[in-house]
């Protein structure tokens, strides 16, 4: 937790509020192949299911431009994720770090990696074994919103927590 670059300070409260609004309106499905579960997307949400995680807990946290620090809103969501993962210990997670398109390709891979690493530190500090967590960065390669303005870019600066059971999560 102490390894965050000190210079990356949190931006203003107004931006945080905007991001909070964004995050509530997010479509949660279809972000990653690993997320598809056998239960399907319809019917009642089963407690302890991957669908419950994405729909009720929230699988995505957002960042301000070029920042990697976790906002209070992001910390709240990650805390809920940690509680859920502590309850359902059969799950492993991959933290997918993303950046918006307003950066260069390779730098954005580094940026997404820092965001994912910070989320990992947070979950680990809340009692999730680092062995259950993997991180990957997609840089600007996997946007969820594709318009060319700030409303979309802010949705793309994110870390998505993808849960799966057993050892099959990712690489």
């Amino acid at each position: 937790m102490s390894r965050f670059a000190v210079t990356r300070t949190i931006a203003g409260l107004a931006v945080l509020l905007l991001l909070a609004a964004c995050s509530r309106g997010q479509p949660m499905a279809g972000l990653s192949p690993a997320q598809t579960s056998s239960e399907g997307d319809s019917g009642p949400i089963v407690p302890g299911s991957a669908r419950e995680f994405s729909a009720r807990i929230g699988d995505t946290v957002y960042f301000t431009t070029d920042q990697v620090e976790l906002s209070p809103e992001a910390q709240q969501i990650l805390a809920a994720q940690a509680a859920w993962l502590n309850q359902y210990t059969q799950y492993r997670v991959i933290l997918e770090g993303h950046a918006d398109e307003r950066g260069t390709r390779e730098y954005n891979i580094g940026l997404g990696a820092q965001r994912a690493a910070n989320a990992k530190h947070f979950l680990a500090a809340r009692g999730i074994s680092p062995d259950r967590i993997k991180t990957v960065s997609y840089g600007k390669e996997r946007p969820v919103a594709v318009c060319a303005n700030i409303s979309c870019w802010s949705q793309n600066r994110r870390v998505v927590t993808v849960v799966s059971q057993g050892g099959g999560a990712g690489y």
Binding site: E106, I109, G110, A117, V136, S137, A148
Partner: protein, 505 residues
């Protein structure tokens, strides 16, 4: 006394061997115009016409006769292999300035042998030469409809007056003939229309599959002879071909000639691939792939398609580049929240750490002599800037500063400039700067320009430009070092991350 003829043997990408020699051994023509037997290496410089640009039409009659006499004298001198003119005072094109007057050049339709195939090839090769020269921005090929003389042979001088009348300053003639066994022979000569001198001439025999390269090699010879610059047309561009919707892009590694032709797609698109770079011998490409679920540095042999994970250890690796000798790959390795630069020796597989930060160090590029590395880092204030260090990681110093963000540095093959992407005021620009941090110059700007790569002669840059919105995507562009002559490099699909190869061998 004999002229030394250049002999080049090269293997282009699993195609058959080349034979490349200077034009030689011509007998006296029926018209008794003995041709020079000189190869371009020993030709004396082309003397630029001394007339002002405003009165380009006909030279006085006396001058024409005088030229003819000169030609005879020339022929005699040439026969004796004594340089008829002193060397020096070369430049025909002033290419150091932005304001370029393209040289009007006539490229006579190349002659063909008896076979139908060589007729087609001759036409196609002529087109390639004209297109290459035109794209450079330094030449203006003259419409063949204006030609007065029809060339019937490459073995006799043309009627220079017929070419000066249409304002051609140079004339290229050539022919393609079937050499049997799937081989074709290509010959060409380049003439200075005003002085009536032969500037260069060469002959090639190669597999007919290589016909595009013949066009590029001849265009290179013309370009090199008339500009004094090194060649670059016989080269390729690796890039990422993009398809599918913007939020589900499929990316494939692809390769094409520098003029956009001869497309080859090298990966299937099942995993994300990014930022290819050529090896110095042109045979391999290193790039970043998500095939294993996370970014890893891959090395691919182009001819066989064989791929190998270069750095297979915990953490993500990305942004790979070969060293100038091809024996090492430098890359970013992300561990925890930091990305640092590491260098892998490809023989020993030893990994050496070059930077130690808690920041993002990436976009590395060696200087052409391999002694220094330029890279980008956000270590100072969280904003990307360019840094230079010695190849062992020592002596790190910041090259850029100020409000902008600088990234994707690439060192010119000439060594004198570093090109970069600069973000400022919501715009993405392409620019160049000297390795000492002075002389920053912006070549192009706009919503999103990124990832410059140098032509093998350090004269032209290719980069990609993104258009906005859901249906937008990246396209490749080229631009002259001066900032002039910006062109789209046409591709059938969206394309990004261009990497210009060294000159083919």
């Amino acid at each position: 006394m004999r002229d030394t003829m250049p002999q080049h043997h090269a293997q282009p990408d699993s195609l058959s061997q080349w034979e490349r020699v200077g034009v030689r051994g011509y007998k006296l023509s029926e018209r008794h115009y003995p041709l020079t037997r000189r190869c371009r290496a020993t030709l004396s410089p082309w003397e630029r016409a001394k007339r002002p640009d405003s009165s380009p039409a006909e030279p006085p009659k006396g001058a024409s006769a005088k030229r003819l006499t000169t030609l005879f004298l020339l022929a005699i001198f040439a026969f004796l292999a004594i340089p008829p003119y002193p060397a020096g005072a070369v430049m025909e094109v002033d290419i150091t300035q932005g304001n370029i007057r393209p040289i009007p050049i006539a490229i006579s339709p190349f002659l063909a042998g008896a076979s139908g195939q060589s007729a087609q090839l001759a036409d196609a090769v002529t087109g390639i030469i004209a297109a290459d020269l035109e794209r450079s921005g330094l030449f203006k090929p003259i419409d063949r409809a204006a030609f007065l003389e029809r060339i019937y042979t490459v073995d006799a001088p043309p009627r220079f007056r017929d070419w000066s009348v249409i304002n051609a300053e140079a004339l290229a003639v050539g022919q393609i003939t079937d050499a049997g066994g799937g081989q074709i022979k290509a010959q060409f000569r380049l003439w200075d229309v005003y002085s009536g001198r032969e500037l260069t001439g060469e002959s090639f025999t190669t597999s007919s599959d290589n016909w595009r390269r013949i066009g590029h090699i001849i265009a290179d010879a013309i370009y090199q002879r008339l500009t004094g610059e090194k060649a670059y047309f016989d080269s390729r561009i690796a890039f990422i071909e993009e398809s599918g919707p913007r939020n589900k892009r499929v990316k494939r590694l692809a390769l094409m000639d520098q003029d956009g032709q001869n497309l080859r797609v090298l990966t299937k698109g099942t995993s994300l691939v990014l930022t290819p770079r050529f090896s110095p011998n042109n045979r391999e490409i290193t790039y970043t792939s998500y095939e294993g679920g996370r970014p890893s540095v891959i090395r691919m042999d182009i001819a066989s398609g064989r791929q190998e994970v270069v750095a297979n250890f915990p953490g993500m690796t990305f942004a790979p580049r070969f060293s100038p000798r091809g024996d090492r790959i430098i890359m970013s390795l992300q561990q925890d929240s930091a990305s640092n630069l590491f260098e892998m020796d490809l023989d020993s597989r030893q990994l050496r750490r070059l930077t130690t930060t808690q920041a993002i160090d990436t976009g590395p590029c060696y200087s052409p002599d391999g002694r220094q590395i330029v890279f980008e880092s956000d270590r100072a204030g969280g904003r990307q800037q360019l840094f230079v260090m010695n190849a062992d990681g020592s002596g790190q110093r910041q090259l850029t500063g100020g409000d902008g963000r600088y990234s994707t540095p690439v060192w010119s093959p000439r060594g004198d400039l570093i090109a970069f992407t600069k973000q400022i005021g919501g715009q993405f620009l392409i620019g160049v700067i000297q390795p000492d941090g002075r002389g920053e110059r912006i070549l192009t700007e706009g919503y999103h320009n990124e990832g410059p790569s140098w032509s093998p002669n350090g004269r032209v840059l290719t980069f990609f430009r993104e258009s906005q919105g859901e249906s937008g995507g990246p396209r490749l562009f080229t631009i002259d070092l001066t900032g002039y002559n910006e062109r789209v490099l046409p591709t059938s699909a969206f394309a990004s991350d261009p990497s210009w190869s060294p000159l083919m061998k």
